[in-house]
Symmetry: C2
Subunit: 137 residues, 2 copies
Amino acid sequence: MNSFKIHQQLIKDTHNLLLLNNINILLHKNASIPWIILVPITNKVELFEIPESQQIIIQKMIKQISNYFISEYKTEKMNIAAIGNIVSQLHIHVIGRNAGDACWPNVVWGNEYTFKEYTENQLTQIKMALQQMPHIR
Amino acid sequence: MNSFKIHQQLIKDTHNLLLLNNINILLHKNASIPWIILVPITNKVELFEIPESQQIIIQKMIKQISNYFISEYKTEKMNIAAIGNIVSQLHIHVIGRNAGDACWPNVVWGNEYTFKEYTENQLTQIKMALQQMPHIR
């Protein structure tokens, strides 16, 4: 799919970390809440429309990223979602939430909360951690 | 798991339609937006923590329910999510959204929108449709 381009809104909101298994791994720029967005290279808009083999890879990535958030950020509850009301391009949110975080207990979508930048060092560490995940390599 | 009970908040918000494959199928009481909530019988709180065989059944249910919403309500975009910030008991939202629906383009969680009751006849029809789905029976 040569014509595939990540939606402008997603580009604006995220750091583009990696492209692995035909899935773009984006990190939301707001470091207040650990939030990865998976954007598979497809023109389908629903997760159940893409090939099952790709769905399985995405589920494995969700699990690995969740375990990383749990160990790194002491995440208490994951928020996993495919919504797409505003950006219909298929993208899956993998968000680590904690009681008392900047948006708790509200969902992050449509709610404003304190902005915090990632440092270059943090971005490098997250990228390295992702690259070392067995189901992501 | 004899001690399993559906969380009071979920009971309050939904019609309990069916228990199939150890998964409770609840329908949100607000008929403005078609919204099913799947509550597997488990004490785990994350989807990736339950057995893979059960995860696969849930993914198949999501697909069937989505196709039902698309054919019955002309749904344009599905919202699929496991959140659990308020009710941590594992439950998966399967929501059919349309441009211009009562909450569009906002997410349903944490947002108020017009309430509409299901009729008894509608409830019976939805239950029958669910029972006829090949991956739900």
